[in-house]
Symmetry: D2
Subunit: 265 residues, 4 copies
């Protein structure tokens, strides 16, 4: 079997921004969920001013409980798009449902497949067929091999524009929400050649760990950092405790500036 | 929030067979995947004769690699149905894709949601809307709470006909394919009241452990045992090493006979 | 390398009681820690009357915090011995410190090495040299291979009188204190031939799970069950929530009676 | 209860070198085990020349199998001391057995307690009584709280000269030997104030990951890096695959030079 993903160094271009392949690492930031027009517009301004290259925001949210806030859906997408256009930031959002792909794909710059769906092969195949740049998060207990093969599902369906995202794995450890496995950065770079982004917000679940873990991620070769930023974390409908406020995000940007350089590949 | 699933003891009826609620435990058996008409017909005869109440067989298979056998699809379903009709056994198969539900649901007796899709809320909602008896496998690293809430997704979408299936969790342990967590049987019985079936084939990955783990599962209250049986495990297209042969399955049935009694609830 | 432990079926005799080798499973019961003369005398009477074959009780306790009750030490041993003599039950207690071995070994019937010390090779070697029957608990994240090799440390030091004890492993699961890995029972029986005892008290941490997990353990071949029993769990200095009261222990004994038979080997 | 370890920033001085408290990170390097006089002398020269501040080398080795090389014992200590004196490097070695402490403690600069013994409270107490600078490795499945409390055992016995060492935890992940949990660096710094060293050699088990993980560790605040270096990894009696050769260690030193600065605390 010849794999599509063979370790060759790859640059993905999404929303006009180059990711991986030795390019300057990218910063993806925004709220866990789009909660209102006002909220996403404010946060978009914050992250744009601080120096982000992408705006993230969930519109369909995969929540553990059916009774938790499930996202604003298509209405949220309108707000996210408006915020992206206003700030000039390309937008990233997650897709949960194969039925949503056709409508979603033309409206966003980077499509995200979340941890809970890394093993959802029907979704992988459907997203693979779009050819749209896609960020594939690691499943919460996915081995390196399973993660590579999930990416291969996308590639085998015709989509090679893949970015990987390490977001912490499930272990016995109970201080953090997940255990951020940074060894996955150099491993996946070597095994796949694809860009690897790190999400220290989900990876730790604790705001105070986002800056040190971002630095660590970039130090070992990450091609980008995705973090949750909120204008009012205490009232956030999801993931408040792991979201940075404006000051925190500015500090993150300034503390990681030393890593914002082209890498030789 | 009032949960639909509240611990009240529940009997699910699928294909005319009563599961849970203190009824005699059920035996679900069959191959990992339907591989041919001949194969499923032979295996159906074997498990029927030995004493199974349900015939299982995958027609759409969620495989870690996109290059592994993905199941026979709708053709496989025809064979499975024929085998079910011939032997009089109700049939169980897994659904992976929301697009398949409508076509699948009327043709089978019990719909299975696999481990990889326990967190696939789009699929849970869609299956929930059918009202069809459904067996929800535990995600490979799902906590008890997450598993309960996944069931609640089904219930909240209108489907209370839920059977739970413990199939092993992912741990550091490397002797077995998964670590069968039998404490989940009494825990889920108490927390949900729903029938709980155990799958020692996936739970251990080793044929020789299927009989002892089946006995253990029934001893602590399982409402059923689902095992993989193959007529030629060495040539099986998937899960050969954990599949029982005819003799093995007969031994399982006879060794667990002492547990095949009504329980007081 | 020829291993001392080679899978040959083994009976260990401790305090005159035969364990393993197809003999009737044994019941080891008693408090987590000896807390007072009165406490251990009362509990010894309870478990003796109910049907236990061994009395357990910690005198040196390995506690996670240095500020938690560390056991009564040698004074506790005197009480334990007295309780054993009064009831005629052989006694089991844990050794933590190589310096204690000489003094301890002649006074007890079965020496226990706890989970925290399974990898403590200095202790294993020292206990190995005594030739005293020893119960080796599985380390909290020990693989099957590591556990076998820890037993081999004992055997290589001259002590083949080894009983293994599965007591739960550490996983992501947070409902129970540990995840009881019952597949270890048939696996260790086959790989080592040694008697395997199960400790559902530590294995689950929840009193209500002790009976179902004891039944499951015996159903899959355990040679014994070790459970914590306390006369006043709410005031217990350690492990109260997982300790059975007199009624609970009586129920355990009666619910597991069906498994109290000789097994063919 | 007032804890001895209360988060106050702490500098430990071992062999005249200051560790933690905002000082320049230290480099500890050397073979897994002292194998011969020649081997340790050569490696000592290599790591000294490259820029290490400490020489490590096991003389008593805690091996999973009793039949693997167990270290040269006291003879090995003589070689290690000689290598330390020749190069002027302070020496670090592990203690396994309370009986060895008295003889060992005056001859070395920093005493190590290994992962397998983090829960060995008899050893912790005995080492605590010496007052000798000690490096406490995290147990392979120790939670943050358990690790803190193990350090508290040392402190409560009178020894506050504690350095912590993150060396990877045991998870389902099978690509690496362990999962290096770098979030433990900022967490333990905050919770204890003690110096935190990272061991990427055991943390990953793969030579190629040692450099990127060292960079990541230092980027998130580690006070030191401990790595295995061997002059002939292919013939190493233990841990060959994770040991760096001379060139690799020189690269590590040069690639991490940017982090070799005083930190404000």
């Amino acid at each position: 079997m010849t794999f599509h993903i063979d370790g060759t160094d790859k640059t993905v271009i999404a929303g006009g921004v180059r990711i991986g392949g030795g390019n300057v690492p990218v910063r993806i930031a925004g709220p866990c969920a789009v909660e209102s027009r006002k909220q996403i517009m404010e946060i978009a301004e914050i992250v744009k001013k601080a120096g982000a290259e992408f705006l993230r925001g969930g519109v369909f949210k995969p929540r553990t409980s059916p009774y938790d806030f499930q996202g604003l859906g298509w209405e949220g997408l309108e707000y996210l798009k408006e915020a992206g256009e206003k700030t000039g930031l390309p937008i990233v959002t997650e897709v949960l449902d194969p039925y949503h792909i056709d409508r979603l794909v033309g409206q966003i710059d980077l499509i995200q497949i979340g941890s809970r769906n890394m093993h959802n092969y029907a979704l992988l195949k459907a997203v693979g067929e779009t050819g749209k740049p896609v960020m594939l998060k690691r499943g919460m207990s996915a081995t390196i091999r399973e993660w590579i093969l999930a990416a291969e599902y996308l590639a085998a369906s015709g989509n090679g524009e893949i970015i990987l995202c390490e977001r912490g794995i499930r272990t016995f450890s109970d201080y953090t929400r997940n255990t951020l496995d940074l060894s996955a950065v150099p491993i996946m770079k070597k095994e796949t050649g694809l860009p690897v982004v790190v999400d220290p917000s989900h990876g730790t679940g604790l705001r105070e760990l986002v800056v040190p873990m971002s630095k660590a991620a970039l130090a070992c070769g990450a091609d980008g950092i995705m973090v949750e930023v909120h204008n009012n974390p205490e009232k956030a409908l999801s993931d408040g405790p792991q979201s940075l406020m404006e000051t925190g995000y500015r500090k993150l940007v300034s503390d990681t500036e030393m890593f914002m350089v082209k890498k030789k590949v």
